[in-house]
């Protein structure tokens, strides 16, 4: 074996996974395809969902015994990065991190697992609730006698989902139930997002729903699924930042002013280097955090690692996409140039599941708690 062959087989698997995901998205039309979908109605492409399913994308972190690839979160991160690079609107992180994250932990034998892994069904996950001042409040949505009453907010992937996994309270404690999108007594409002997508605000008035799991396991699985989704959203932001930087670098190499490419000016060069360094640090930090989550069983430590990943990814994505607009100059402020699509997606992905300031707080508190326990 030569020195350069010494990449571990794990790393080799991830490299191949990355290549196949990249090829799939590029063949479909990269960011141009995402723009068309945004202009159409802000939804996603059902054919793409099927293609992703055929490539095994949705089951990437699901154990092989439950019909998945059993490759772990680091592999999920590789796919999320590729989703981010082409700002694909398909709910990959929602599916891998949240819906399958909950189902594989709470009811791995449920038929819904196969349907989701196979791309036949897409579910969105509803657990947060909006209070009178517009911010999040303690959940109060109830599940009694097979029916849901209450409301849920910030449901990503709600438009186009076939159903909702809803976390609610019941007399028997917390439950996870499945409500179909077309169920009676379910009303739905869209909140339009900067990237053309929409989040759902759901109201249930005696909406029939199937009980999938109950007891304290529900809260535990929800926390774990949120950690997974947070880490995967971080990876998506890493891919997004990576591509946004490439686009910007190409632009400053070709755009001429004062008879020279603007990338020949030192002030532009140093800003570009700062973005590049930020990108590399972020990529290394986020990938390391995801890999460590794969070898860590303690949910609290995994949550801290997810916060580390999201804090870094949001900081990097904000800086890179915003500076990218500045480096593009006036055309960066137009809808016509793709760079703006990256800024808008970064805004949405940053706000979802907590931004950098939020996750630094969570990370710091977790570190303090671990320190005190030692």
């Amino acid at each position: 074996m030569t020195q350069t062959d010494m990449l571990s087989s794990d790393q080799e698997d991830l490299r191949m996974l990355r290549e196949s995901a990249r090829t799939l998205f590029e063949r479909a039309g990269s960011a141009g395809r995402s723009r068309k979908l945004r202009d159409a109605d802000g939804g996603w492409d059902a054919d793409m969902i099927r293609e992703l399913a055929e490539a095994g994308v949705f089951g990437v972190t699901v154990p092989e015994d439950n019909g998945g690839l059993g490759m772990g979160l680091a592999a999920g991160g590789v796919i999320a990065e590729e989703v981010g690079r082409v700002i694909a609107p398909e709910p990959v992180v929602v599916t891998v991190g949240l819906s399958l994250g909950l189902l594989r932990r709470l009811c791995p034998q449920h038929a819904m697992m196969d349907q989701i892994i196979g791309g036949e069904t897409v579910l969105a996950v509803a657990w947060q609730e909006r209070g009178p001042n517009g911010g999040p409040v303690e959940a109060s949505c109830r599940y009694d006698g097979g029916k849901l009453t209450g409301s849920k907010a910030w449901v990503v992937g709600a438009v186009g989902a076939d159903g909702f996994l809803v976390v609610a309270d019941s007399d028997a404690g917390p439950v996870m139930v499945l409500a179909e999108a077309k169920a009676s007594g379910l009303s739905f409002e869209k909140t339009a997002q900067a990237d053309g997508s929409a989040m759902g605000e759901l109201t249930f008035s005696g909406t029939p729903a199937e009980l999938l799991a109950d007891g304290t396991a529900v809260q535990g699985a929800l926390a774990e699924a949120i950690s997974d989704a947070t880490a995967l959203a971080a990876a998506e932001l890493i891919g997004l930042s990576d591509r946004a930087f490439e686009i910007t670098l190409d632009y400053i190499k070709t755009r001429e002013q004062f008879d020279k490419p603007i990338g020949s000016f030192q002030v532009i060069q140093h800003r570009a280097v700062d973005l590049h360094v930020m990108r590399e640090v972020a990529q290394a930090g986020v990938r390391e955090a995801l890999a460590q989550m794969d070898s860590e069983a303690d949910p609290k430590v995994r949550a801290r690692l997810a916060s580390r990943a999201k804090a870094r990814a949001v900081t990097a994505a904000k800086k890179i996409t915003r500076d990218a607009i500045q480096l593009h100059g006036a055309v960066g402020y137009t809808d016509e140039f793709d760079i703006g699509l990256y800024l808008n997606r970064a805004l949405v992905l940053s706000a979802w599941l907590g931004d950098d300031a939020y996750h630094r707080r969570i990370w710091f508190d977790a570190r303090e708690e671990e320190g005190a326990a030692q």
């Binding site: 020195q3 350069t4 010494m6 990449l7 670098l249 400053i252 190499k253 020279k260 490419p261 990338g263 020949s264 000016f265 030192q266 532009i268 060069q269 140093h270 570009a272 280097v273 700062d274 590049h276 360094v277 590399e280 640090v281 972020a282 290394a284 930090g285 990938r287 390391e288 580390r308 804090a311 870094r312 300031a357 630094r360 707080r361 990370w363 710091f364 570190r367």
Partner: protein
Amino acid sequence: MTDWNTLSDAEFRKEVRGFFEAEYPEELRNLPHRPKFAEIEHWHVKLHAKGWVAPAWPAEFGGMGLNAAKLLIFYEEQQRWGVNRGRDMGIQMVGPLIIKFGTQDQKDYWLPRILSCEDIWCQGYSEPGAGSDLANLRTRAEADGKDFVINGQKIWTTMAHDASHIFMLVRTDPDTPKKQQGISFLLAPMDQAGVDVRTITTLSGETEFCEVFFDNARTPKENLVGELNKGWTMAKALLSFERIFIGSPSLAQNALVQLESFARGRGAFDDPVFRDRFAQAALDVEDHAALYSRFADQLKRGETLGADVSMLKIWVTECFQRITELMIEAAGPDGGTIGPLQVGNVNVDVLASFYKARPTTIYGGSNEIQRNILSKAVLGLPG
């Protein structure tokens, strides 16, 4: 002779750690200043007896013969235990240069004297008009009989006032089309009438940097290393490993540990703004370490590092500075106080850390120069 490279990384780390922990003098741990040789001589004697003075040199010249991976471990352990690098200009710079480009006579004469520290070396590169633009150097060396005669001035020469010899880049041909040509690598004794050393007092009050003036100083012609007028290429060849070492996370990691214990003692963590800034700094260090491992893994696989390794230095030195600035903030009204500040049973010299962090973005190729390198060699930007 032990072939250290046959040990596993973990075994080797254990060996190195064990030696430092058992043998390194407690009073020399984490020295806040650069020591004169007399101050650390007792440690050097131990290290020399162990055969560990020159970890990177091939075994045939008295080194440990470590490969890149083992070398990295050696330095990591050295920094972890706060082991002073000693007066290592001879070990780090002159030795490798002579091993690579020197004659047999030069090897036989100089290498053992470097290992024993019979000769203590300083590095004469920078000049008043040649800092970042090093190739602009003007100190002349002209052939005169059996000698070179040296005239000019070097500056920022670290510990020149405690050195017996200087290795220097000098101009031996003033009429070349490119200024990188016409530069040679020369060794010279410091103890002679034509060499005058004056210390420079830094912002922190230390005197580790010097100016060195050459007024018809002489050195024998056999002290030319390598070919005449090829010094620039040789100096560049020496920098390859240096570039990851200078971007190692340890300076920032150690400062973060200090910041945390100091800030805790002072109650700074009660302030949510401070908590957030601490979290930022701590995550900056952690994610930098992840990037550093990526480069270290490349070395371990036997790959050569590219110019992109420069980004480690940019990130870690700027992060180190932010951490020491947070220490000053946490010190409140003591932020301008010289000397160790007592917090519980810990002493933290806040200003010493602050001053130590300042020149890190200047030396070893200023961070602006590093950005130029990345811009051209890595990002491929024009001009």
